[in-house]
Amino acid sequence: MIDIEKLIDLLDKKNLSESELNQLKDFSSDPEAKEIIAVYTAVKNSLQRNEHIDEELLGEYVLYKNNSKEYNKILPFLILKIEDHLRKCELCQQNFRELNSQFADVDNFISKSISTQAEKSYTPITQIIFRKKFTAMNFAFSTIAAVFLIYIGLFIYSNVTTPDYIKAPFSKDRDFYNTRGRTTELFQRGLDALDNKNYDEAIKFLNEDLKENPEQESIFYTHFILGLTYINKAEKDFLGLFKSFNKDDVLKGIEHFEKSIELNQNERFQNLKLDAHFYIGKAYLLIDDKNSARQHLQIVIDNKGSYFKDAEKLINSF
């Protein structure tokens, strides 16, 4: 049985003495030691360039320099070393420039791919990667093939992994609130902005309504619509896939629904309290807080709110 730790220590040492060299030679007659030596050497050669910066490390540095948040988290420990080396090494500077230019192509490709008004002038990703191997026709074909395959795969994965209550629209009837009694100018402008999916503007008008008319009896309704607006604003996806919700906005939405329940003292609008509980329940599901969701949906079911059947369905779905 060989002493693996001792062997790796020797392999990892920078300067070996005469006796250490002999120890290492002794080790190398053992088949298991041979395997360790081969693997250690391969790992080292895969990651280390001795006098230069490894390309993958340089790639992480390019991500960092381009303000990507997705760089390897050990990079900050090595930045000084990298920059110090780059100042002195022409070859690594050349590698950096090459990788930086490739990142710009990738960035351009991704940005154009997800834009709703895609232009035709971006460089296909496969052209970037296989530039030296493919003809122009092959680039185009390969790009379409790769992007199509990736999209179909991601679509299937997204469909299977996203629960129905996330995939379904948050509120079904966008017009249902137009018939309610609140008529201030700011409130109506907020509704119009919400209808136009201009959520930031809707939030601005509705907050102004709260500020200017805090004492009005029907102000709870502004909180209710603000709740809906924040939840709509929270929604995000990628090319229509992987629908998810910004937690901060969802929590703000819940806060406004709660405020609307608290301020709703008008007997005529008691059902709106139960609607608010229903939306709070749904909102908690969006951020995966099933216990809180269950509590609010149960209130809707127990009090036979207008959404009690939807609430029952939802509770049974998780």
Binding site: E35, V39, E56, L57, I114, G153
Partner: protein, 129 residues
Amino acid sequence: MDDVDDLTANVYIAFAEQYQKIETIENWLRRVLFLTFVRFYKQSNLKRTTQLKESITADDLNLGTDQQHDVNAILKEIDTLSEEKQEILKLRFWGDLKFNEIAEKLNKNEAAVKKMFYRSIEEIKNKLK
């Protein structure tokens, strides 16, 4: 078409492995596609670079190992290690840091870092069998 298949497979595998941790798909895809290119670039560079060394290390000895491991295969195995083990290997080889320096940066003790380094090499060896 093999390269296209490889690229597509790389994205799927990376996605399946990292799905829970992805915050913004767009940024993640940008990183995966770019680093896929970096690996192709690295492999083509490896074919033409020679490495220079000043001191005598184990590499200088003819230790009779006839096993050769493909760089890509090794990198894929490194990717399967725990995040902690990958950090240690990369700080050791990418940054050429000593174990006490790695321990300090990762807020661990030196002996624990060394143990994890040994285990990482063994783990890769076992996976390559």
